[in-house]
Point group: C2
Chain length 415, copies 2
């Protein structure tokens, strides 16, 4: 056993930007029915192939009339019109409405040619084949003209935007049954370490249960990706390299956890340069210094620390923006804001940035950090702050810039 030291550490912001720059937005596209496309990212700008409505529709139950016929109508001297037809919603009156005529029409029905207004049922008095109108109507009354909702050629959704309920509704409403969306990014999580047991296996002295599969898969799924998990590999460089190569064949991103530092058994720093271009090794951040990344063609391999808090913290800060870029989702995956610290936050080294997970209580932010190996360090955290190097203590009461996670690291933020 021997220990090595990191060379020059890469500033956390530089590491984040390098990973982001190396992330290739996916070009894989799928076609999915509008009923199944919620939350997916549009791979095309959808324009309306026809106006909506595509014909003049009435917005109420009533009588389609020529408004000019009703000009003189009053309670004392009602106008009497001949009812020449009835139009249910799906029908169209085949003829043309002439002077002195009315057609009974249900909400949503096509307004007959010649008619230019609709008299409400409640404001008319039906008598066998005639109807009495006691109030004048104006041209366009209770009629939705073609294109009133949106004209032909309207942009219903733009390429690269997340599909919402309303966007999908507008697409369906002009008859488009499917929408082209970007494929979900596939992320394989590949833990390594002789000390790792898969959950469910019997406990063994000196061994611990692997938990990064669960936390990283959650972040991947929450980001619209597909997470593939692999049982932990032993500290065997050939098997780890083979595992990464296999994963690369089916993945946009491979997240190898553990073995990312500079110790004798940390094989990732030796494997990654063989596979592609090393982007960085060693990040000036606590927790999470032993992190490295490589670009392999249009794919990424990231080696994350095995400690659960370091692993998940760097997953959010470094990997999430890149993963969103691959999946064509806008933004880094958090909203920036300001918060007032409820208690002192300690930055342990003037040379390192510090990632501080935060929970909120009565409007103030409190650090939940208890140690990088302590997974409950993140329980209840819904945001984090990245404190810059060079300051050892940030005092309670100070305003700090925070990143509000979406989805949150811990419980308590949803609903």
């Amino acid at each position: 056993m021997e220990t090595h030291l990191f060379g020059r550490l890469t500033k956390v912001e530089v590491a984040r930007r390098r990973l982001l720059a190396a992330a290739t937005p996916t070009r894989r596209v799928e076609e999915v029915p509008v009923e199944k496309a919620f939350g997916r990212v549009a791979a095309e700008t959808v324009r309306a192939p026809r106006p909506v409505p595509s014909f003049a529709r009435t917005t109420w139950d009533g009588y389609a009339v020529r408004s000019a016929d009703t000009e003189s109508a009053s309670a004392h001297r009602p106008v009497e019109l001949a009812v020449v037809g009835e139009v249910f919603a799906e029908q169209a009156y085949s003829g043309v409405l002439h002077r002195g005529e009315a057609v009974a029409i249900a909400t949503g029905g096509a307004v007959p040619h010649g008619a230019d207004a609709v008299v409400l049922f409640e404001e008319a008095e039906r008598q066998a084949d005639t109807v009495r109108v006691r109030k004048p109507v104006s041209p366009g009354d209770r009629i939705s003209r073609p294109g009133h909702d949106f004209p032909r050629g309207s942009v219903l959704t733009r390429r690269g935007t997340e599909l919402t309920a309303t966007a999908l509704g507008t697409i369906a409403s002009c008859g488009v049954p499917k929408v082209r969306v970007y494929a979900r990014p596939v992320v394989t999580i590949l833990p390594n370490g002789n000390e790792l047991l898969s959950p469910g296996m019997p406990p063994k002295p000196g061994m611990i249960y692997e938990s990064n599969n669960a936390t990283l898969a959650a972040v991947v799924e929450a980001t619209g990706g597909i997470a593939q998990t692999v049982p932990p590999l032993p500290d065997d460089p050939a098997r780890i390299e083979e595992g990464i190569r296999q994963a690369l064949a089916t993945s946009d991103v491979v997240l190898a956890t553990g073995g990312s530092s500079v110790g004798e058994r940390d094989y990732l720093p030796r494997i990654l340069p063989k596979l592609g271009t090393l982007l960085f090794h060693g990040v000036a951040v606590r927790a999470g210094k032993p992190t490295l990344a490589a670009r392999v063609g249009d794919r990424l391999v990231v080696g994350l620390p095995g400690h659960p808090t370091s692993c998940l913290g760097n997953m959010y800060w470094l990997v999430l923006p890149a993963l969103r870029r691959i999946g064509r989702r806008p933004g880094p995956g958090w909203h920036e804001g300001w918060a007032t610290l409820g208690s002192d936050a300690v930055a342990p080294s003037p040379g390192l940035s510090t990632i501080v997970p935060l929970r909120f209580e009565r409007g103030r932010a409190y650090s939940t950090f208890r140690g990088s190996s302590i997974i409950t360090s993140l329980a209840g955290a819904t945001a984090f702050a990245m404190l810059p190097p060079g300051r050892r203590i940030v005092r309670a009461g100070q305003r700090i810039r925070v990143c509000l996670l979406d989805p949150p690291l811990g419980p308590g933020a949803a609903s």
Copy 2:
């Protein structure tokens, strides 16, 4: 064709509460692997079957020592200890550490019996079989005691909470491979109306494309439910009733859209009382008055208006809280807050509440409502206000209570 009038309208808040009270939280439970459980609702309170860590672990690379041996150590008079073994992470030192001994140990390794502190590699000087320590260490230094992360019996997640990345990580880290979660609620959407065409079919005069399948399915999926969609049924009471009965066999909720008013062809008000207990018919809200609901055993049937804006508005305000309750998700599906109106909002009738979809621009809220048949009424809306009856205009500059949707009705809220 004849027109009927609604009887007494049910206040919107009363309708919402009745539907919520009639919603039966699901009792169906599934067991899913921790890597697949993100966002699901825990159907059990998970307690740690063992402490984490389950043995004393070192948190750094170094030498496990008896701290008492280092008491007198200084730069000038280092203490020399015999290195009697090496412990990689997954191993355990079989013997007991005696006075004057040290064991080289890697991060995460089990601290040998007898040792009570770890000296950092960097602060020790190895010489063949001995190591020189130049600084005293205190008991517990760089050791994570059993249960330091969390003790045996700790509550890792409570029944009824949404599973987050961290909760799943804690569950995995004490060896639990699966978690029992509530089944996703199944919602069948069943449009009816002779005028409705499925998207993708050729256009026909007088016919419109069905879009509520797309919008309602989006809300269901975003709420963690499973949406089943059915092509539009014609205005045939027997077929609609049969469709609802069939849907009820496989669904927690049936959302029938269209045919919910009081016209000749509005069959839902005649069908629903045959199936179960009518909860209300006619809601004092604009848009969305023609809405009704029935409880059928532990299931719900809701008849929503066919107009897309009325339909989606009532889906949010009336159905979403009930759907979340069935799926055991806390909260109504929105966050309440206050906003300042950017322009006047008009409440059309003193007897009706008004649901106003809102978009935000430079910190002010603007109504996006253009008419209940106009689906673009909701484009860009990320919140809504429910204005109480009895006030015709709410002026620009006024503060109003708003419901911020999660997920939003329209684009622009995410990231």
